[in-house]
């Protein structure tokens, strides 16, 4: 029968998938797979509407995995080898299933991890050594500042305008958003500490203010372009930037991935990523399971990851460590290796976030309010109370 996949792309992954599916259809002539390429906006805003109406594709690549989990199909009875799935994708299975079930909804096409990038050339030119793997946020701030001062660049560091991004250092500083009842807890000391420090940095000109003030509300803004143009010494973003840097920086300068700087509590990045899930409104669950089985098979996952430069979620592949990313740029390989390594040291608090229902709620409140503080519209203390009350209201609104 027909299987439709709703897919968005940040880079070449759409073409790779199309390639793989062509191969699949050659092997399974009875199944016709159609890939509906869409903008990420469609996945984020329109797919929920469709799903609630009981429409939707058969398979979709989604990031709001937990939020929409009640629409996912349980593949467990349909796939050929549930044990293989549990073994290799079990770590993230909880991110995409309704709380309290053991459903297999799908698998992560890619896991991402937040982390930093340094402009090695700038550091060299400034004669400042790159801080080591265990360097703290303060170390990086100090080093970058030196570089910025000597190289006359506008800002030393930047951190994407995103609640997800800022949560990584928050956790490193000991934050825990999750209350005892599983609902959001008020901001704790760890979070407040880092946010205070962060706001201080933006005021001092260490941290780029532009990216945070250049939007209102929860809008995502990245500082990647500044990094690409050598306007930043240090940029905290995530693994997904690697292909982007590879094409846009070229050999303009040397850059390195540094993993996540440490805080008092941990040295951790934030995991995330997109998952491929089956939708329960499908008319051909069997065929869907076949497609999913194929895409989740070790060889396919490996090929997919190698060609897209994505970090796979597949435990077996990661453990083997024989990924051979298809790139000629040694910097890319090195960077990917850094992230693959870092993914193994992610703090448990960070690991829990993607599977936590209220994560986006907290992220949203954080971004909105911290940005207002940086823009000078709100005192920091007010922001903390506002964040707490915003989150509380949302929880109340949802009627749960």
């Amino acid at each position: 029968g027909d299987v439709r996949i709703m897919w968005y792309s940040d880079g070449v992954e759409g073409e790779v998938l199309a390639d793989l599916m062509k191969r699949f259809m050659d092997q399974n002539p009875d199944i016709k797979v159609t890939i509906d390429n869409v903008a990420f906006g469609v996945i984020k805003e329109q797919l929920p509407v469709q799903l609630e109406a009981g429409h939707g594709p058969d398979i979709a690549r989604v990031t709001a995995l937990k939020d929409l989990s009640r629409h996912w199909l349980d593949l467990r009875p349909l796939i050929s080898d549930a044990a293989y799935w549990d073994a290799n994708f079990g770590a993230q299975a909880d991110w995409m299933r309704p709380d309290g079930s053991n459903q297999i909804s799908g698998f992560m096409t890619q896991v991402t991890l937040t982390g930093g990038f340094a402009n090695k050339t700038l550091f060299e030119q400034a004669g400042v050594p790159l801080p080591g793997p265990d360097a703290t946020w303060d170390d990086w701030a100090a080093a970058s500042k030196k570089v910025a001062d000597s190289q006359q660049i506008p800002f030393a560091m930047a951190l994407d305008r995103s609640g997800h991004r800022i949560t990584a250092p928050n956790i490193a500083f000991g934050a825990n958003y999750i209350g005892a009842d599983g609902k959001p807890a008020p901001l704790d000391k760890g979070a407040k500490d880092f946010i205070t420090k962060f706001v201080g940095w933006t005021n001092d000109g260490v941290m780029s203010k532009d990216v945070w003030v250049s939007a209102a509300g929860q809008t995502y803004r990245a500082a990647a372009d500044d990094f690409i143009n050598a306007q930043l010494a240090y940029y905290y973003s995530g693994s997904w930037q690697i292909p982007n840097f590879a094409t846009k920086i070229g050999n303009g300068f040397d850059w390195v991935a540094t993993g996540s700087p440490c805080g008092p509590a941990a040295c951790t990045g934030m995991p995330g990523g997109a998952g491929l899930v089956a939708v329960k409104y499908t008319k051909n669950p069997k065929d869907v399971a076949k497609v999913m089985d194929y895409l989740a098979s070790e060889a396919v996952v490996k090929e997919f990851s190698e060609r897209t430069l994505f970090i796979p979620a597949h435990k077996g592949i990661l453990d083997k460590g024989d990924l051979n990313f298809k790139t000629e740029d040694p910097q890319v390989k090195a960077a990917l290796d850094v992230f693959v390594k870092a993914s193994k040291t992610t703090a448990p608090a960070a690991q829990k976030m993607p599977g936590w229902r209220w994560a986006d709620t907290v992220y949203g409140a954080l971004v909105t309010r911290v940005a207002q503080v940086i823009a000078g519209e709100l005192p920091l203390d007010d922001a903390f109370t506002r964040i707490d009350s915003d989150v509380a209201t949302k929880v109340k609104d949802s009627g749960l």
Partner: protein, 345 residues
């Protein structure tokens, strides 16, 4: 009297094509005529009025009015579910929440501080943008209406931005205005230091106004241009004979007779500036801080982006916005009605 046979309006190739294309239309129109004549006999002129109005109203009712009504129902419900049956009735709670303020002049004292910030930003935006828009569109239309060489080229120049999608508009201007953008690049040789236009509250607001002006001015200019064409030429001749200065011709002849079309422009400009979103969202994202956060962005974020969504609150905000617009438009039309009557021959 020997007037030669008509050669002045020899049909051009385009007209020929047009005639061929029109032939089937003629036929169809002719065919419908007979039943419609019967209808007209039966119902009289007012019946025909209803007939002409009906198709529009039908489509309109189904695809605009009905959703609007549903939207109102939304505003009385709570929860994050998108579809009505799954939502709970909360009465006027959402409205109450929007109006929960201890001091209406200071948005930060409100429960929904973002809403009130957006309201005040939108207000100033509308005031500024609409005045400038009407002025600019009018000047452009007047100039394009002159006997210029290469008229179509100039028209295209001013209309061109309208062809661009808001996303592209926002993008181009962000690239122009950002710290290392084209503008700073161009200004640098003139001794202007690179400036971060978009992270300065005043400048980014001005940019939001300017860019939306840039993007939509051609639209209004075109409406006015068509309106200018409808003014009988002999009135200008009469004014010329009366020794009227161009400025006075404009104020006393052009403007009053343009009134029906000017009303369109004023009303549409007003409504669309209240609804401003896409290009500004791409351009400034509402920043810096919340200085260019407008109502539609608030509605969009509340209803679609934030987790969990709050469609009820978004609907309530949109209903409030609609109400304000209705009032404003009625005022406009009240003023315009006089003009309309005036324009009649």
């Amino acid at each position: 009297m020997t007037a030669p046979l008509e050669t002045a309006s020899k049909p051009s190739a385009v007209q020929h094509l047009g005639a061929i294309a029109l032939a089937p239309v003629r036929l169809v129109m002719g065919l419908i005529d007979r039943p419609l004549r019967a209808l007209q006999r039966m119902t009289g002129l007012s019946g025909m009025a209803i007939f002409f109005l009906a198709p529009n109203m039908l489509i309109f009712g189904i695809f605009v009015l009905l959703p609007l009504f549903i939207n109102f129902v939304y505003s009385t419900t709570g929860g994050s579910a998108l579809f009505l049956p799954e939502r709970s009735y909360v009465g006027a709670d959402q409205y109450q929440r929007l109006f929960d303020c201890s001091n209406y002049l200071d948005p930060l004292t409100c429960q929904e501080d973002a809403f009130w910030t957006a309201v005040s930003n939108t207000f100033w935006f509308v005031v500024l943008q609409v005045t400038l828009m009407i002025g600019a569109a009018l000047v452009t239309a007047l100039i394009l209406n002159r006997n210029l060489a290469a008229r179509s080229f100039w028209r295209a120049v001013f209309f061109f931005p309208v062809l661009l999608s808001p996303v592209v508009v926002g993008l181009i201007w962000r690239w122009i205005l950002q710290r290392q953008g084209l503008l700073n690049f161009i200004l640098y040789p003139f001794g202007v230091d690179p400036y971060t236009w978009l992270t300065d509250r005043t400048w980014s607001f001005a940019a939001a106004v300017g860019v939306s002006l840039w993007a939509h001015m051609g639209f209004y200019a075109l409406i006015l241009l068509a309106g200018l064409q409808a003014i009988p030429k002999d009135l200008y001749e009469a004014a010329d004979m009366d020794g009227t200065k161009p400025a006075r011709v404009f104020w006393r002849i052009t403007l009053p007779l343009l009134m029906p079309n000017l009303v369109v422009v004023i009303v549409l400009a007003l409504i669309r500036s209240v609804q401003v979103f896409d290009e500004v969202y791409i351009l400034t994202g509402g920043g810096p801080g919340t200085s260019t956060l407008f109502i539609t962005q608030y509605i969009y974020e509340t209803g679609f982006v934030s987790q969990p969504r709050n469609p009820g609150l978004a609907a309530a905000a949109s209903i409030l916005m609609g109400l304000v617009l209705v009032v404003l438009t009625l005022v406009q039309l009240g003023l315009g009605r006089r003009g309309e009557k005036k324009g009649k021959r």
